[in-house]
Amino acid sequence: MENNKDHIIPYQTLILVVTGLIVLTLISVSVTTIHLGALTVFIALLIAAVKSSFVLWIFMHLKFEGRLFRLGVTGVILLITSVIIITMLDYLFR
């Protein structure tokens, strides 16, 4: 496993990321004021997914970690989303 113990994330990068996250939050809030029906949930979740990938990738250092952690995170996310999708399919078509 590659070791990037010495990797230092510059302050500017972190400030840039948090600014982006706040802007995305405000976008997500303003989108709900427009009535888009079922699309609203989809957009809200999409923005949440983008925000969480920033948190995972930069704040949680996944970008600089080995493959093991990335694989684990992807696995857990896939597991949760697939269980939600399968459960919803059941409820939608019963």
Binding site: M1, N3, K5, D6, I8, I9, P10, Y11, L14, I15, V17, V18, L21, I22, T25, L26, S28, V29, T32, T33, H35, T40, V41, A44, L45, I47, A48, K51, S52, V55, L56, I58, F59, M60, H61, L68, F69, G72, V73, V76, I77, L79, I80, V83, I84, T87, M88, Y91, L92
Partner: protein, 202 residues
Amino acid sequence: MNNTQEIEQEALTSKTGMWLFLFTELLLFGGLFIVYSVYRYQNSEAFHLAANELSVFIGTFNTIILLISSSTIAMSITAIQKKNKRLALLLLGATFLLGFIFLVNKYFEWGHHIKEHIYPGSYDLSLRGHGDILFYGLYYFMTGVHALHIIVGLGFIGIVTVRISKDKIHSGKFVLLENCGLYWHLVDLIWIFLFPLFYLIT
């Protein structure tokens, strides 16, 4: 194996353990999100109406507070790597303060609902129908478990702050600070999903 290698090995092991724990945390909240999606699908009308009673302003404010606190703890890792102990402590203090403000807001939010007799098991809520009961049950439980994580996170930050001030965490050995950061980011990550799902359904 020399000393630095040993410390690196130790750090990697410790971080692996932390990530494994975070996976179980994600599965815990994942299960709750599954329950949420089914109940919301079955009671979409009631969920929409009940969600309108939550304050979008406080929710947004709290989201921004948590996001900023996540960046300050990430910056404290940068600071410790750059051997800037004072700045690292300052940033950890800021993270702690922001987390505390989040809890205070949560207290007023819950307090407001409880004053209106809207809480699990209350008579007023039982009059309002099945969907509202489910919505508020999930709201109290999920934000409650999340708030519990914030409290644990604050304790963790406190321990790390003491250890940095005693020079037990320094630029050569800071895995405990990294793990503390990971935990705090997880709390932030969960809130990123809780916020649109409870506050932004219109």
